[in-house]
């Protein structure tokens, strides 16, 4: 049940981002975090993930929140992609 609800939150979050937020924040806010309340459609922009969640929770205490990173396919990567950009490998 949790799984279904997570998928639904993500689906609605991505739709809201594409239709209403992307044009407002890209490319100027690249790299910052956006937390979207998928119930109300409101969003919060911050440099830090938890700060974005905190402020979104203040705005809509009962919200269902979804995290996006501006200008990125996913908010984070888990493991270095074998076919990713080489730039992501040269951090260390």
């Amino acid at each position: 049940m949790k799984r279904t609800s997570a998928q639904e939150v993500a689906r609605r979050g991505k739709k809201i981002y594409e239709q209403e937020i992307r044009a407002e924040v890209e490319p100027e806010q690249e790299g910052r975090f956006v937390v979207i309340d998928v119930k109300s459609g409101s969003y919060t922009l911050a440099d830090d993930e938890l700060e974005a969640f905190d402020r979104a929770r203040e705005k809509t205490p009962e919200g269902l929140l979804y995290l996006v990173r501006v200008g990125h396919r996913a908010a984070h990567r888990l493991g270095v992609s074998a076919i990713g950009q080489t730039g992501s490998r040269s951090i260390l």
């Binding site: 949790k2 997570a6 998928q7 939150v9 993500a10 979050g13 991505k14 937390v35 993930e49 938890l50 969640f53 979104a56 929770r57 269902l64 929140l65 979804y66 995290l67 396919r73 996913a74 908010a75 984070h76 990567r77 888990l78 493991g79 270095v80 992609s81 074998a82 076919i83 951090i91 260390l92």
Partner: protein, 130 residues
């Protein structure tokens, strides 16, 4: 912060104290693997998220090493990092707990990549001699 290389698994691991939320939170010392390919702070398996009663914050989509995508729950915890409690987002993921580059940011990581070699995470650039 010091740990050791796990010789058979070939992972660089350290022990991390993870503290739950609330006025009298549970805490747990967890052996975490260092994953420089993970751009976030910390992943924990579902059973650890439950046992520490971490508060849920929302959901996130991450890109996996094989290019696939996964939707994960985001929780909040405090970890003891350079002897201070720090709030971090926790991603709920199966498998071994990982720490990533967001938590390591601002630190110097050195790994002696030999069996039982030393792993050191020093604050700032103090671990560098050159």
């Amino acid at each position: 912060m010091r740990g050791s290389i796990v010789s058979d698994g070939r992972e660089a691991t350290v022990s991390l104290k993870v503290i739950g939320a609330g006025s009298d939170p549970d805490s747990s010392n967890i052996q975490v693997a260092i994953d420089t390919g993970f751009t976030g702070h910390l992943t924990l398996p579902p059973e650890t998220v439950r046992s520490l009663s971490l508060p849920e914050r929302g959901f996130v989509e991450v890109e996996l090493a094989n290019g696939g995508m996964a939707i994960l729950g985001v929780y909040e915890a405090r970890v003891l990092w350079h002897w201070r409690p720090v709030r971090v987002p926790v991603y709920e993921a199966d498998g071994a707990p990982l720490i990533g580059m967001s938590l390591l940011r601002g630190s110097t990581l050195t790994i002696e990549v030999i069996p039982r070699g030393e792993v050191t995470i020093a604050e700032g650039s103090q671990g560098l001699e050159t």
